[in-house]
């Protein structure tokens, strides 16, 4: 039983990271109807920025905040420079754009910081959390930061005017323009926020997977699995999907013989395919009530 509880709690901790990545993917998907394959690489690059800042002697939380600001601006810049001009281009052109972005960021990180694996610090420590052997303080910290982030985002989208405007721009762009919303900037803002959310995920998971240019590859696939499971049209679903995938991943690795650590990733891919076949809209995919 203790093994089970332990695995579930650890699953929730990594699930928090998947939830963040899924949320970032869904935010961009809502804004421009494309999956951002480079989301993980963007998060990795942000994490390297924070690492570099710490190497230069900046404290953890200062580096954390500077990285968030950097990621926000960088996300907006990527949208303005690369994807705004592609807005009306065919879907394959956009996919090529995302793959190019993936390759460019991955290679640049390798060029600047090389491909060796680096230790990444945790501000929470890795002692047992509250004296319990079930979960470490870093895992508890991952969950805590994610929950704070999600509450903040919920408040932002539900109760601020700019959040309302962003939702409007994503749901009915033409009507949004007709009430005076600059939808183009709302998309850019969405990119900035998604990039910052990805940066948080990267910085929280780096102590676990270690820092290197390919660190987010697996994480992003879990993020995609979470987004598909929850429904690409539902930010709430993406978050729930993230936690579910985290727990599922750990339990499958522990209890299904032969899965272990090596076959965990194929499980995420199998999950994506199963959901797409059985329930393409995902668990919480938007069911729009419409009367005609």
């Amino acid at each position: 039983m203790e093994l089970f509880t332990n695995q579930v709690l650890a699953g929730i901790a990594t699930g928090a990271i998947y939830a963040c990545m899924a949320l970032a993917v869904v935010m961009i998907y809502q804004a421009i109807d494309h999956l951002n394959f480079a989301q993980g690489e963007m998060a990795m690059f942000s994490t390297f920025i924070s690492w570099q800042l710490m190497q230069w002697g900046v404290s953890y939380w200062a580096a954390f905040l500077i990285t968030l600001a950097f990621s926000f601006v960088a996300g907006i810049a990527i949208e303005r420079i690369l994807f705004k001009p592609l807005a009306k281009a065919p879907i394959l052109t956009n996919v090529a754009g995302f793959i190019a972005l993936f390759a460019i960021i991955n290679s640049s990180a390798g060029l600047i910081w090389d491909f060796t694996i680096k230790q990444y610090p945790t501000p929470f420590g890795s002692a047992p959390f509250l004296g319990s052997q079930l979960i470490s303080t870093h895992q508890a910290g991952m969950i805590g930061v994610t929950v704070l982030l999600l509450l903040g985002l919920y408040f932002f989208f539900q109760y601020t005017r700019i959040g309302l405007a962003m939702r409007a721009a994503a749901s009915v762009p033409e009507s949004a323009r007709l009430v005076g919303i600059n939808t183009s900037w709302m998309i850019a803002l969405g990119w900035g926020m998604a990039t910052a959310i990805g940066a948080i995920a990267g910085m929280l998971i780096a102590p676990v997977v270690f820092l290197e240019p390919n660190m987010m590859g697996g994480v992003l696939i879990y993020g995609f699995a979470a987004a598909v499971l929850g429904g690409l049209s539902s930010p709430f679903g993406a978050v729930v999907g993230g936690f579910l995938v985290g727990i599922f991943e750990n339990l499958a690795g522990t209890y299904i013989p032969g899965v272990g650590n090596e076959l965990k990733l194929p499980i995420a891919l199998a999950l994506i395919i199963s959901v797409l076949v059985v329930k393409p809209a995902g668990l919480f995919g938007r069911h729009i009530v419409k009367r005609v």
Binding site: A176, R177, G180, R286, I288, R291
Partner: protein, 237 residues
């Protein structure tokens, strides 16, 4: 009477296809003007061209200021509220959020709150449903919501694209009654595009008739309604 909207030699294009062929008309401050014509005559395109939602040439002046080359969202900030064909409801959001979105360019939060109450007074059914997802409203209710959303801008000019479309005759009467009241009491100038010519001519003070992208007739709504020849050849009733 000052001219609020002045359109001169408007030509509009969808890709290579020209939809408006040099259309000119004007609208006085405080008036309720209607643009009539058959399907495909260019009524919707005219409204869309005013808000720069379709490629066009020619001069469009609002209150003496040119609107050409401004983005749709900037034109809204001049106080032009456009209720598009199909109502443009934010279906996944609540009724109240739809109203708040109508006022999204305004800064006076106290005024917005009191205007929402004013809209609920105009349209009591919206108050009953203010927490409901807007997509669940009936067609007539959604049209009321669309008009209310447009009014939340505190517009000087309201553009309405076929507000009667798909609504039951009684609901249409109701709606047109409210439009007349808004025009008289709130001093909002209105340009309404309609296929239901009879009804529109009862409501409006001035009318233009469009055929294949050109104005073919204009005058007082009363005169046009009383001219049997025009009615038969252009308006079909």
């Amino acid at each position: 009477m000052t001219t609020l909207l002045n359109v001169k030699d408007l030509r509009a294009y969808y890709g290579q296809v020209q939809a408006l062929h040099g259309l000119s008309f004007s609208l006085n401050e405080g008036s309720l003007t209607t643009l009539l014509g058959a399907n495909g005559a260019g009524k919707t395109t005219t409204l869309r061209a005013i808000c720069n939602m379709v490629r066009s040439t020619g001069a469009i002046e609002f209150d003496g200021k040119p609107l050409n080359n401004r983005s749709t969202e900037n034109i809204v900030r001049f106080g032009i509220a456009h209720v598009p064909q199909g109502r443009g409801t934010f279906t996944t959001m609540t009724v109240e959020e739809n109203l708040q979105l109508g006022a999204i360019t305004r800064k006076d939060s106290a005024g917005i709150v009191s205007d929402i109450e004013r809209m609920y007074a105009h349209f009591p059914v919206l108050k009953q449903r203010h927490t409901q997802q807007a997509g669940t409203l009936s067609g007539g209710e959604q049209q009321m919501l669309a008009v209310a959303r447009a009014l939340m801008l505190r517009p000087r000019l309201m553009l309405l694209d076929e507000p009667s479309f798909g609504l039951a005759p009684l609901v249409v009467r109701d709606l047109f009654g409210i439009l007349g009241k808004i025009n008289r009491e709130d001093k909002v100038s209105i340009l309404v595009v309609e296929q239901n010519a009879q009804l529109a001519l009862e409501l409006a003070d001035h009318a233009y008739v469009i055929e294949t992208g050109r104005i073919v007739m204009s005058g007082k709504a009363k005169d046009i309604a009383n001219n049997e020849e025009i009615r038969k050849s252009y308006l079909g009733y």
